[in-house]
Subunit: 399 residues, 2 copies
């Protein structure tokens, strides 16, 4: 009696598998600076918490499978604010962006089919590819190139008869790259020419810096029918525990497929849908101070990392992550060293090893992802500890 | 550019696909008695709503992938109350029972593998079988036999080299059958002998009537390692919109597989987990009046149905559903007739056609599922309307 192959091979989250070691450090009274996971310290906006606390139904009952109409309208309205024409009929509410990824994967491909994704990529695509039995074909990017997309020729070389879609995450987790219009157009043209779906993970849409504006794949008329965007309120409104996301598409066949998968799980959480409606009512003005806050943090983290010898990092334009190459051989070992063995004034730092963000074996072993989800002072202190820990690791463990 | 085969073939929920017609009736001012879906009218217990309203964290952040420890302990404690030895280490919190089904399916089988399920069965197993690319092998039961399980020989005849598990839902949705110890032992012995997983859907555990007690497959020592139970608070505490469930297993390999799938979706909703902790603190005493209420409703519905000529129904022992054979040819057409064309004093009744609860084509066309989730008075009135509608349907549509 064996479990399934997919159950045996599904990736343990590289972000979460070291959690027990962090818990042990916390339990021992150590202060841990968590730069490993995108769980922001920005306070959840009051309208969200007020909506939760004001929940006044006598029965917490099922909602519609596609989510409450008012929330679907609010999300369409939010995109309309960015001059992207959408209606509630293009939106299905999901349990976090996670479920939108799952339903999208299951809709574009059958077992054995392929999705091309630039790597490093959001590690949980791996889990969903295992669950849906799709194969992720990675397009390997490099920190030295600022993780920019390669030429059309190099992208097309990855296409096989089993290729069903290309997935672009922009602003990118884990690299922070924001794809330019030119890069997007390159992929849009390939999808149009080769008959592929184009999946967009744009959950960090607001978090673009240095005056850049985010360009969505929803803006490209020629792939209108090919685009599926996975969306989430987790980062947008600093409420990761709400588990409210959305799948967005103007392709009616795709919509109906996702809706039927959604019917099997009945509905997304009712209370947080109400909270999300309240969140969207704040309007786009909410994001400006948040964006400024993250930009300051990025600058602090980037400058700090640049000053550490042997560290390779490019200044990211968006999201709240940086992919960083370290002058070491094994970043998993380094993460464990920091959690188990290294303390500076009884404090340490947790980061995410990046090999799990690649699907090419052996890639990313000398890289980490850092999430700048702490305030400036904490980031500054974390940098001091990180730098000291890295030196100690190099001089003792990998000497 | 076609969507996937599974996306094209995944079943539209037979419970939900007629919802637009019900909405149209409601919009036209018609009162609709909803007996189609298991969304109880029992008030959500105050401790649950108080916990929601009392949510006081400044940041609605991620919880652990396996759910809050306190909730996992509470669920283990609940089973301990039924003399079933479990610890928090056997429990993973999921997004509704739905997600527990998905992760369990993906853990026991790979694409093309088979799960044997007595039919009629909870229709959403179909959706998850499509998503996970498993094949449901039905074991057809009959209303005339009270939907009891067939002989070991008949069950074993369904086993092939691809069979990975048998799934038993007891108390059963949609039939209301509660399997006897003898029936469970029959299946337990087969799973032990043939090396199969035994999946238990026991979300209606409390809802057993006539002094019966529910027997769980968790009670069988000889299949301790083979058992996975999918659980949910939706019906137990009348809070279907909370989306909190659990997967329960004492098999460590299975646990780790489900946990890794769970890591990909980060965590279940944080607020409702807190609410669930409050719910379990009420203790087993909460259920007695609820059970009595449902038993009375069952009696009213059963007696009412028995008095309608040509209707075949067996008195169910549990859950809050009845599977009913009607003297008609096409229950989908009947459901549409009731929603679109039939009114009694500007009122009508919605039930669920049962063909979608079978995976054998052509089965269940003359059957419906009724959920006794309304109070006695409403059920009585619904019966009057239902009987009149059935007569009219027979004399006009299927005459």
């Amino acid at each position: 009696m064996e479990i399934s192959h997919r159950g045996q091979t599904v990736q343990a989250s590289p972000i979460r598998k070291f959690k027990p070691y962090a818990d042990a450090a916390l339990k021992a009274g150590v202060k841990v600076y968590f730069l490993n996971i995108g769980d922001p310290d920005i306070l959840t906006p009051k309208p969200i918490l007020d909506a939760v606390r004001g929940f006044n139904d006598p029965i917490l009952s099922y909602g519609p499978a596609q989510g409450f109409l008012e929330l679907r309208q609010a999300i369409a309205g939010y995109f309309n604010g960015y001059k992207i024409p959408l209606t509630a009929e293009n939106v299905i509410i999901t349990v976090g962006g996670s479920e939108a990824i799952l339903f999208t994967f299951a809709t574009v491909g059958d077992p054995g089919d392929e999705i091309i994704i630039p790597e490093p990529f959001y590690t949980n695509y791996n889990g969903y590819a295992s669950l849906a039995n799709l194969k992720i074909v990675p397009l390997t990017l490099r920190v030295e190139d600022g993780y920019r997309l390669p030429s059309a020729k190099e992208i097309e070389a990855k296409i096989t008869p089993r290729t069903k879609a290309i997935l672009l995450c922009s602003p990118n987790n884990p690299t922070g790259t924001v794809y330019s219009a030119e890069e997007l157009e390159r992929v849009v043209a390939i999808c149009a020419k080769r008959g592929l779906f184009l999946i967009g993970d744009e959950v960090y849409k607001e978090f673009v810096y240095d005056g850049l504006t985010h360009k969505s794949i929803l803006e490209y008329e020629q792939v209108k029918d090919r685009v599926i965007v996975v969306d989430s309120i987790s980062k947008r409104f600093s409420c990761c525990g709400a588990r409210i996301g959305a799948a967005i598409t103007r392709n009616e066949t795709v919509y109906q497929s996702i809706l039927r998968f959604a019917q099997a799980r009945l509905c997304p959480p009712s209370i947080e849908q109400r909270a999300a409606i309240a969140a969207y009512k704040m309007g786009l003005g909410y994001f400006e101070p948040v964006r400024k806050e993250y930009q300051r943090r990025r600058d602090v983290l980037y400058e700090g990392l640049r000053s550490i010898p042997g560290v390779v990092v490019q200044k990211p334009q968006g999201a709240f992550y940086m992919s960083v190459r370290l002058p070491i051989k094994d970043s998993e070992k380094f993460v464990l060293f920091m959690l188990n063995d290294f303390r500076l004034g009884n404090e340490t730092v947790m980061v995410a090893p990046e090999s799990g963000f690649y699907s090419t074996p052996g890639k990313g072993l000398d890289e980490i992802r850092m999430a700048y989800v702490l305030n400036e002072e904490d980031i500054k202190r974390a940098l001091v500890i990180f730098k000291a820990g890295l030196e100690r690791y190099k001089s003792t463990v990998e000497k």
